[in-house]
């Protein structure tokens, strides 16, 4: 049996999903579902799967999330729906419930945060609510795990018996809306039956003016006219337009249910606490300074304390292992080419990317804590104005900011940007925030060419990235992502303590996913680069790196870079190896120039002038991020072709900007 888990955002859906499944989860692969949903086996039940649908407020086909949830229920026909409802915010949550009930699928309502409701002196009469909605209602606390076993039992029982929701009418009898709905149901019942979708759901969608529904049902001209006539009559009689009339009907029904079965607490402790916290965290003068401190602390802890420590540990672990393998292989007398593949190729390449894993994990950990506590929504609230001009909302601010640390967790964090259009745009823009792995490149070049003004040079580099990012955003807004911006109507949930279990599981999923998906790409990229570096055209091992395949290719493509002022094959080689990891740019240059890293700034003087160095820095700032980031972008965009487009776009932008710097700068030189 398959259950769909549906509910609003911020109602504890992920926590319940974890409580239902424990660790038996995997990314679900369902036909027709474009965004992947997590799926898992329900604990203690045989052959029972639950699919975690995106958090939504309605079943309208306007956002990607709503379409995914709706298509899943209609096309994949789950045996049951588990609808999680936030007991502390019951009216708005039940609005989705009513729409789910219209789909006529065996449904169980899980009333979450019941501990908070009762803890504040409120109460919900579960029996009454269950009778009013016509489906079982089970009070739970997903965080504590209370009521989850009972929920599973009721869900399985309802689905096995194929028990449909007992209440079908949400319109008050004899109202104008009631007459309209029933007239339309009568009109389309046969059509709905032939496509196997509940007539009531189709009716609601037809009245709401859902664009595809009339076609899907195959209504003819005559029927369409009758339909429109019914709706217009209702609009005239109620004085409300069709959308408002239906929303009004649902909320009126809900108000009745709530009045009969819910005793609301005067003010909940959680809300009172949130108001107090918000006085400071979104206060007029305190919001932004505190935000700067919080983000500063996150970066400090990641790069200077926890992440750095773990990174050193992992790096020395990899070195140790490489050393042992190195000695073992040497003692065994293995072919030197294989030896080089394993030590110089795999260990060096994969190791250097993997040593970034701790930074990725730690940053992502802090991000999920920001999200789970509710602070992320507040940041989106007070940063919204800044991002609106480039066609985004405040939701994109933190992922972009994290991009200054590392593009990988930043792109992962775009999951919190709920609108699909905004999410994709954020993914495209994040790489323009210069990541920390590029700092060594800037440092070497700044020391070599800008001496006393290196600090200014650094600031200029970062600002250039941001400015180019803004320009790209404005262009995207006018071209690929024109459309209607997604309305920024966002719930501000009460502050809550994050559940360590949920955060831990999320982190584990991300790491596993990153290792599995990114590892193969990183592995292939390192081996390819090693191969090109080690052999010449006749597949002989090269002694002199200038004869390698890589050098050959670099010489071949070097003319492309000549207009930018750095057509030397060694520079191009360094840029190509930079694709595996950005810090490889500096080390490759040192190797190819046959100097140590300490003497590198002096040696660079033979290859660059300050002007061409600036063009080169602009190019490294803007060209494609490392293979790990590209793999993550590929994962989040869900399309190899689009990812290739992103890489080409980035290289193109980098080339143009470097060309402009070199050409315009040349006029003044």
């Amino acid at each position: 049996m398959i259950f769909a888990l549906a509910g609003n955002q911020n109602c504890g859906k992920t926590t319940l999903f974890n409580a239902l499944t424990g660790a038996n989860r995997h990314v679900g692969n369902f036909p027709g579902v474009t965004v992947d949903c997590m799926a898992g086996d329900i604990k203690g039940e045989k052959d029972c799967q639950v699919v975690d649908l995106p958090g939504i407020y309605s079943l309208r086909p306007y956002t990607q999330e709503e379409i995914v949830a709706r298509d899943f229920i209609i096309n994949n026909k789950p045996d049951g729906i588990i609808n999680i409802v936030d007991g502390t915010n019951i009216e708005r949550n039940l609005y989705l419930t009513l729409q789910l009930l219209e789909l006529r699928v065996p449904t169980v309502v899980a009333l979450n945060f019941m501990d908070e409701v009762t803890g504040n002196g409120g109460s919900i009469d579960v029996e009454k609510m269950s009778a009013a909605l016509g489906v079982p209602v089970v009070p739970i606390s997903a965080v504590k795990g209370d009521g989850v076993t009972e929920l599973i039992r009721r869900a399985v029982e309802t689905a096995k018996a194929k028990r449909l929701p007992a209440v079908t009418d949400f319109c008050s009898a004899d109202s104008q809306v009631h007459r309209c709905i029933h007239a339309v149901i009568h009109l389309i019942e046969d059509h709905a039956g032939s496509i196997g979708v509940s007539p009531r759901f189709c009716t609601a969608k037809l009245i709401e003016g859902d664009p595809g529904m009339a076609d899907e049902l195959g209504l003819d001209e005559n029927e369409r006219e009758l339909l429109e006539h019914c709706i217009v009559q209702m609009e005239n009689e109620t004085g409300l337009d069709r959308n408002a009339a239906l929303a009004d009907m649902r909320y009126t029904f809900i108000e009745g249910v709530v009045q009969d079965s819910v005793r609301k607490p005067r003010e909940s402790r959680e809300h009172a606490r949130s108001v107090k916290i918000d006085k400071v965290l979104t206060g007029k003068y305190t919001a932004i300074p505190i935000f700067v401190i919080v983000m500063g602390l996150i970066f400090f802890l990641t790069f200077n304390v926890v992440g750095a420590w773990l990174q050193d540990l992992l790096a020395s672990g990899i070195d140790l292992l490489a050393g042992v393998v190195d000695r073992g292989l040497t003692a065994y007398g293995i072919n030197p080419v294989v030896h080089s593949l394993i030590i110089d190729g795999i260990f060096a390449g994969v190791g250097s990317v993997l040593s970034f894993l701790p930074v990725i994990v730690v940053l992502f950990f802090f991000l999920s804590v920001l999200e789970d506590t509710g602070y992320m929504a507040r940041i989106a609230f007070f940063m919204d104005k800044l991002l609106r001009k480039i066609g985004l909302s405040g939701r994109s601010f933190v992922p972009m900011l994290i991009g200054f640390g590392c593009t990988v967790p930043a792109v992962m964090a775009t999951r919190t940007v709920s609108a699909d259009r905004d999410r994709k745009m954020t993914i495209l823009l994040t790489p323009y925030m210069s990541c920390s792995a590029k700092i060594p490149i800037y440092a070497v070049f700044a020391a070599a060419f800008f001496g006393g003004r290196s600090a200014i040079a650094m600031i200029v580099i970062y600002l250039t990235g941001i400015i180019i990012g803004v320009i790209v955003a404005l262009v995207l807004k006018k071209t690929a992502y024109r459309g209607e911006p997604v309305p920024f109507v966002m719930e501000l949930p009460n502050y809550r303590f994050p559940s360590l279990k949920t955060t831990g599981l999320l982190l584990w999923d991300k790491v596993k996913d990153f290792l599995r998906r990114a590892f193969s790409i990183i592995f292939i990229a390192t081996v390819v680069i090693w191969f090109l570096r080690t052999f010449d055209t006749r597949l002989n091992v090269v002694e002199d790196s200038s004869l390698s395949l890589l050098a050959l290719i670099a010489r071949f493509v070097a003319p492309i870079f000549r207009p930018l002022g750095f057509g030397d094959w060694r520079v191009v080689t360094a840029l190509v190896t930079g694709f595996t990891a950005k810090e490889a740019v500096v080390s490759t240059m040192a190797v190819l120039l046959e100097t140590g890293t300490a003497e590198l700034p002096a040696a660079l003087g033979t290859l660059f002038s300050p002007l061409t160095a600036s063009a080169f820095l602009a190019f490294t700032l803007l060209y494609t991020p490392c293979v790990a980031a590209v793999a993550t972008i590929r994962r989040e965009l869900g399309s190899a072709l689009k990812t290739l487009g992103v890489v080409v776009l980035q290289c193109g932008v980098a080339w143009v900007v470097a060309l402009l710097i070199n050409t315009i700068g040349g006029l003044f030189a």
Partner: protein, 76 residues
């Protein structure tokens, strides 16, 4: 009066929700429908968006979108 003009800290009752397309549907879905009480809690430090309270929960709304929400003459 529209919601964006209502002073911070005061309450009103919605009389109409204007606008069209996805934005309007989203507003209706979130429970901003005629006859509903709204309270304006605060305005973001940069002057926009605003934080409102309806049906027992809190919501952010941009001033441009709040213009679409018409209120009955303000009650206490």
């Amino acid at each position: 009066m529209t919601l964006d003009e209502m002073p911070v800290g005061s309450e009103g009752v919605i009389s109409a929700v204007n606008g069209d397309g996805p934005l309007r549907c989203r507003l209706l879905d979130m429970g901003l429908i005629p006859k509903t009480r709204v309270e304006k809690i605060k305005v973001a430090p940069l002057g926009d968006p605003m934080q409102i309270r309806i049906r027992g929960y809190e919501l952010t709304l941009r001033a441009d979108d709040a213009k679409k929400i018409v209120l009955k003459e303000a009650g206490a």
